[in-house]
């Protein structure tokens, strides 16, 4: 069989900072099956199954409402505290789990890395998408809760697509950087579980951005999840503290992190199988 010259693949040790997009497209159906695997394995042989997706944010909401809402009486911008915190927990839970899952995805799929060749970026990418399914379920619960508390939907809901994208980009960007580091240094895995918890306190999940002095909010928004959480509150319960500067800062940070993540990942990818 005859192959044209352009069909020659070269395998050498040259570094590249960019993913081979043409190759990724060749493997596009793999993405679907990786996501399917992710979801099926997560919830197989479990009684509650996909119900676990909503248990985490709901329980956090209950605990937060008792401790921060009732006991510490934290200001919730006029909205019921339960809804106020759940509205933040929906994107936060996605971000935290997506970050943790994508960071650990390469280590958890070690045999895919060391025994087959696939464009490895699909592995963290598929765990982000897998977590998105959970997000949709928690998101629907949010809508139900809004009706329960007497809030209605309006056209602003379409704006949430913007914040959802920002949320996914941030999660993937951080996930790529940490996941790449984790292949060589397992310390990342250990640091991640409590690091994510600490990060939650740097995000207005249990409290409102209002407690941050106005002149510092632009710096606060260097954490893109600040904008996502406040954006969600603005759209769904009209209780967000957000301005255009914060949005700009967050968008730029998250894009920079994504680009750094993709470049770092692509650079180290060639030695994944050697260092993992």
């Amino acid at each position: 069989m005859k192959n044209s010259n352009s069909n020659i693949k070269i395998i050498n040790s040259n570094q590249s900072y960019f993913p081979d997009v043409r190759e990724i497209l060749e493997f596009k159906s793999l993405l679907y099956y990786l996501v399917l695997k992710d979801i099926k394995t997560r919830y197989s042989q479990s009684i509650i199954g996909i119900g676990w997706a909503i248990i985490q944010p709901i329980f956090f909401m209950i605990v937060f409402t008792i401790i921060f809402g009732k006991l510490a009486k934290i200001e919730s911008e006029g909205a019921p505290y339960a809804l106020f915190s759940y509205c933040a927990l929906v994107p936060w839970t996605f971000f935290a789990n997506g970050l943790a899952d994508s960071s650990n995805s390469l280590i958890n799929n070690i045999s895919l890395v060391t025994h087959t060749y696939i464009p490895r970026i699909l592995i963290p990418f598929s765990s982000i998408i897998g977590k998105f399914i959970d997000f949709i379920i928690t998101f629907l619960i949010l809508i139900l809760m809004m009706f329960w508390f007497g809030y209605g939907l309006n056209f602003k809901i379409f704006l949430s697509i913007f914040y959802i994208l920002l949320m996914m980009i941030s999660s993937l960007g951080f996930g790529l950087i940490l996941g790449t580091m984790a292949t060589q240094y397992r310390d990342v895995k250990h640091a991640l579980s409590f690091g994510v918890q600490l990060f939650m306190y740097a995000t207005p999940v249990a409290y409102s951005t209002n407690i941050i002095p106005e002149q510092y909010r632009v710096f606060y928004a260097l954490n893109p999840m600040v904008t996502v959480v406040e954006g969600f509150r603005e759209i769904f319960i009209n209780a967000g503290v957000i301005d255009l500067n914060m949005i700009l800062v967050s968008v730029i940070t998250s894009l920079v992190i994504l680009v750094i993540g993709v470049m770092y990942f692509s650079k180290i990818e060639r030695i994944f199988a050697d260092v993992i």
Binding site: N3, S13, F27, T114, I118, I271
Partner: protein, 429 residues
């Protein structure tokens, strides 16, 4: 233009050797080394990536492959043989793009599919059907291609009624069958198969070998790694023998396999000067102590030919290179392997809790088997020594000896039945 399908141009691959530091005997020394541990860990982990940078100098590494050159053409089924750790799998991983060479480059025309381990890309919780799609897409097929071949794959694997059962309920044989069926039907230009068929039953193996043959007939190239020299002989038209990261011989199957087996079964002298063997198959340890001499003897004299049940004594002699290690504990491991390179017997002083130390005046260590318990055949010996837990020296296939019929049970005549293994036993009635 040359119509090769794979062209390997002077590739080398190195891996770092992570050594364990010698244990300190003083309290202060131990505390300091404990505090220093994170820095050492960091250095060791960094080595993993630094080793792949060809311009960097690092201390302590091995070349898993060194200056490999080869060209493969359509219609070829190339067998790759060699001892464990000789670099076969490393080569296959580079051809499948799983890992990159440290130096040199590989040119590949067309799609590569590799089966390096049974059912990689399989997932236990998914059903057979889902796994066919998952595995197919891992190997680079799209959904339509898998749909088109689905019935053939199912038929070839012969697991029909279990197709919708999660594969965690499958036997390992069924998994191999499914894995191979997917790979064989995906129409790659280059197929790479590593040792995986050993798990399936004989019938299925035959079917697979037939399929590999078909694949090559259609203008593809197949790389086939196996310890099963009969299988290699029967399907390969070309064989490459790799040892210690280098190609020793590349040519027609019969010739290469012959020289390979000859090299294995050449019974060595009873006394071997190891310092002369040198670096061909010597792994670089930290060189704290090095083997100098090895000899084999029975009750009476030096020999490399034994009878079953003979007294079997291995004498080793070492030389000390780092004198600060005097009195450090030694672990000596002697592996006895059969001709298929399978470990038959591993002798270690650690297993029996015998303390050995680095000593100036007692630099000879012997291992004594009162009765040789292994059956007829030719065996090879691997020697390895660790000082304070860190590898100091290791040499594979340092000696070969043969075992002939013998009187294991001391009945005055050779045993009536020949088995691979002998032991004392009792009967009761």
């Amino acid at each position: 233009m040359d119509d090769f399908s794979v062209s390997v141009n002077n590739i080398s691959k190195r891996y770092p050797l992570i050594t364990k530091e010698a244990r300190h005997n003083t309290l202060v020394g131990r505390i300091l080394s404990f505090l220093y541990r994170p820095i050492k860990n960091m250095k060791d982990l960094r080595k993993l990536s630094v080793a792949q940078d060809k311009d960097s100098e690092i201390e302590g590494f091995i070349w898993a492959l060194r200056h490999i050159e080869l060209k493969a053409y359509p219609n070829e089924i190339i067998g790759i043989i060699g001892a464990n750790g000789s670099g076969k799998t490393t080569l296959l991983k580079i051809l499948s793009k799983i890992s990159r060479p440290t130096e040199g480059e590989v040119l590949i025309k067309g799609k590569v599919a590799s089966l390096l381990e049974v059912g990689t890309g399989f997932h236990h919780e998914l059903t057979g059907r889902e796994n066919i799609y998952l595995n197919g897409s891992v190997l680079g097929m799209n959904k339509d291609e898998i749909d088109e071949n689905f019935d053939d794959i199912l038929e070839f694997s012969g697991i029909n009624e279990y197709i919708d059962t999660p594969i965690k309920r499958y036997s390992s044989g069924m998994r191999v069958r499914l894995a191979f069926s997917v790979a064989a039907h995906l129409d790659p230009d280059i197929l790479i198969v590593d040792e995986v068929l050993a798990v399936g039953d004989a019938d299925f193996q035959k079917k697979c070998l037939g399929k590999i043959d078909d694949v090559a007939q259609n203008g593809r190239t197949v790389f086939f790694v196996s310890h099963d020299l009969d299988a290699v002989m029967s399907i390969c038209n070309r064989v490459i023998w790799i040892d210690d990261g280098k190609i020793i011989e590349d040519g027609g199957s019969r010739n290469v396999i012959q020289s390979y087996t000859q090299s294995l079964s050449e019974i060595s002298k009873a006394e071997i000067d190891i310092s002369k063997i040198d670096n061909r198959i010597r792994f670089k340890g930290d060189g704290a102590i090095k083997f100098k001499k090895l000899s084999l003897r029975n009750d009476f004299n030096l020999t490399s030919s034994f009878n079953v049940g003979d007294k079997f004594i291995i004498d080793t002699e070492y030389e000390i290179y780092k004198h600060n290690l005097l009195n450090a504990p030694i672990e000596l491991v002697i592996k006895i392997k059969n001709q298929n390179m399978i470990d038959v017997l591993i002798l270690s002083n650690k297993s029996v809790d015998k303390k050995l130390i680095v000593s100036d005046n007692k630099n000879k260590i012997s291992c004594i088997l009162p009765k040789l318990p292994i059956g007829l055949g030719v065996y090879s010996i691997d020697l390895e020594v660790k000082v304070s837990g860190g590898p100091a020296d290791k040499i594979n296939n340092v000696a070969f000896f043969e075992v002939l019929k013998g009187d294991y049970f001391g009945k005055g005549i050779a045993s009536i039945y020949q088995s691979n293994f002998y032991t004392e036993y009792l009967w009761e009635q």
